[in-house]
């Protein structure tokens, strides 16, 4: 299989000053040389195939953004190797950025006061996109999402949803083989999230674009990703299909029981350790159960368990 991105034993360290508390501490810090090293990314290896949509997950401060910054060539890894489209990103930042698209959080990369279409034209010139390809791309956009209402609107007048949409469109405009999307649906309403997910799915399908998606919204993951990578405290703790994820800690299911007073009681059951029937029987000895439901665990719950449980290999 063709690889778009390869990372081998990548580490990234930051040096920061140890701060002390209080007014006295602040004065002491003035002369202090007490630095500590923080390992933001520890020995991460990763291969991402062309055309994949990867969900890159992890709790806040896990090292997701740092990894993406390294892949985009903004940060240099402390050790290890990264190849993106066959290039070493930090050594050839300009060349690398020709072949990637980036949407970073809620920071718009478009010209704030220009109408979107003018930003597009500038990007077309900056990336030297042939006019024919540019028009084809706009056509594709039109077929996937209704862009007319935003095309002639200055970015500063857009709503958050429209701005995110614009940024995503801008990231795909030069048809890059890889697009990085960092929390693209954060803060958006349900219908806008939906729009953006189907747009990403559509572009991935039409252009075979590799998409690296970081998000905290499991809806994004369920809708778009086949494979997910989870990173916590700088270490890769999971890298596999989304189906395998559910049996990651064992096979979990949620048991819901309606009790005599019509309230529902919920319990998460690890089937490798206890039997669902045992639980029901035990409960039935205490009180009457009127109804029973068994639910598959949601991705959200698994992820939550992984984040909370730390890294169990």
């Amino acid at each position: 299989m063709e690889n778009a991105i390869v990372m081998k034993n990548v580490c990234k360290e930051f040096k920061i000053l140890n701060r002390h508390e209080g007014l006295k501490g602040s004065i002491r810090d003035l002369f202090s040389r007490d630095y500590k090293t923080i390992e933001a990314v520890k020995d991460v290896s990763l291969e991402i195939a062309r055309g994949e949509i990867i969900g890159y997950l992890g709790p806040n401060g896990a090292g997701k953004s740092t990894t993406i910054k390294m892949m985009t060539g903004v940060l240099e890894p402390t050790s290890g190797e990264i190849l993106v489209n066959g290039l070493v990103p930090y050594k050839e930042r300009k060349k690398n950025s020709e072949h990637i698209g980036v949407v970073f959080g809620q920071r718009s990369q478009l010209w704030w006061s220009l109408p979107l279409i003018e930003s597009f034209k500038l990007l077309r010139d900056i990336y030297m996109v042939p006019q024919k390809d540019y028009e084809e791309m706009l056509e594709l956009y039109r077929s996937l999402v209704d862009i007319e209402p935003i095309l002639h609107k200055p970015v500063r007048q857009m709503s958050l949803g429209q701005r995110t949409l614009s940024d995503i469109l801008a990231a795909f405009l030069h048809n890059p083989p890889i697009v990085f999307l960092d929390e693209p649906t954060i803060g958006l309403d349900v219908s806008m999230k939906d729009k953006i997910r189907s747009l990403i799915a559509g572009l991935n399908e039409q252009k075979n674009t590799t998409v690296i998606l970081t998000t905290h919204d499991m809806g994004d993951v369920d809708a778009l990703c086949k494979r997910i990578v989870i990173i916590d405290e700088g270490k890769k703790i999971y890298d596999n299909d989304i189906e395998h994820l559910k049996s990651y800690f064992g096979s979990y299911r949620t048991l819901r029981m309606r009790l005599a007073d019509d309230t529902w009681e919920e319990r998460l059951i690890d089937e490798s350790r206890e039997d669902v029937m045992d639980v029901i029987m035990k409960k039935q000895k205490e009180q009457k159960i009127k109804d029973i439901q068994l639910q598959e665990i949601s991705t959200e719950e698994v992820i939550k368990k992984i984040y909370e449980g730390g890294n169990r290999s």
Binding site: M1, E2, N3, A4, I5, V6, K8, F14, E47, R50, S65, K69, T72, G73, V74, L75, L83, V84, N85, G86, L87, R93, K94, K95, S97, E98, H99, I100, V102, F104, G105, R107, S108, Q109, W111, S113, L114, E118, K121, L122, D125, I126, Y127, M128, P154, P177
Partner: protein, 278 residues
């Protein structure tokens, strides 16, 4: 297998000077268009610019009311220096004004967006702002220079005009270099805004003859913080007829060198910066 396939690089034209010029022109046109929609801002800023220049003049006049000359420089020669410095400060005001926003963008992490494009980061950053107000300063400067020129009675010959243009451009390079370097300190020092503020205030001393400085400080203000080159040395090329100092003739080359070094320093800052702000 952990091979990473390379994209087939179709032969794209190189991004040369012409490419950057055309991009800058396009951004400029769009920027001016959108500025038209902020009329109140434009009017107030223009008033502000006029006030700054007027107050500079008033200070100057008050000074000369009390003191007839400074270090052998009379009123009209001083005015010449003044006008010269105003014109030389125009490019930094017009084209490099975004330097003032650098520290905020670096601190908030927004700066990262300039690193995702296949063009020069310095260029991309500076291209975002064109400050129209600088043109008002240019008008002030030209007016002052012409008035002083006529009163001193410098003959107008093609050679003098060529020298004037060359040395004005030279002078402006030094100020651009100073501001680039001052702005770039924010990559290393948090809250370094004051460096820019004070450097910008240093420029007010560019309009005085630099032979007022002595010893170590003459060297400091000539070669380290080169305000002596923002007006004094370059303008000697016009004001003096015979004994033009060597430093005046070196100014164009030194200007390019300073600009280049400040650019390198700025880019080094980009490279060293952690982008931790998020």
């Amino acid at each position: 297998m952990s091979e990473c396939t390379t994209i087939n690089e179709s032969k794209r034209p190189r991004r040369g000077l012409r490419f950057y010029a055309s991009i800058y022109r396009k951004i400029l046109v769009q920027d001016l268009k959108s500025k038209m929609s902020y009329r109140a801002d434009f009017v107030i800023s223009t008033i502000g610019m006029i006030m700054t220049n007027l107050s500079g003049f008033v200070t100057f006049l008050i000074l000369f009311k009390n003191f007839p000359s400074i270090n052998g420089w009379d009123y009209h020669h001083m005015l010449f220096l003044y006008g010269f410095s105003l014109i030389a400060l125009t490019p930094v005001q017009c084209f490099f004004d975004n330097n003032w926003n650098l520290r905020f963008q670096v601190q908030s992490g927004d700066f990262i967006k300039y690193c995702f494009r296949p063009i020069n980061v310095f260029f991309y950053f500076m291209s975002e702002v064109f400050d129209v107000k600088g043109l008002g300063q240019l008008a002030f400067g030209i007016g002052t220079l012409v008035y002083a020129w006529v009163n001193i009675g410098i003959p107008v010959t093609p050679w003098v005009i060529v020298k004037l243009v060359l040395f004005l451009l030279t002078a402006s390079l030094f100020m651009i270099a100073i501001m680039n370097a001052a702005a770039a300190t924010c990559f290393w020092i948090i809250g370094s805004g004051y460096v820019m503020v004070i450097m910008f205030r240093f420029k007010d001393f560019a309009k005085y003859p630099s032979n007022i400085f002595h010893g170590v400080f003459r060297i400091l203000f000539t070669f380290v913080i080169p305000i002596a080159f923002v007006a004094y040395y370059p303008s000697l090329a016009i004001l003096e007829s015979d004994n033009i100092p060597v430093l005046t003739w070196c100014a164009p080359a030194l200007g390019l060198l300073f600009f280049y070094l400040s650019y390198k320093f700025w880019m080094l800052g980009v490279k060293k910066y952690d982008f931790t702000g998020s």
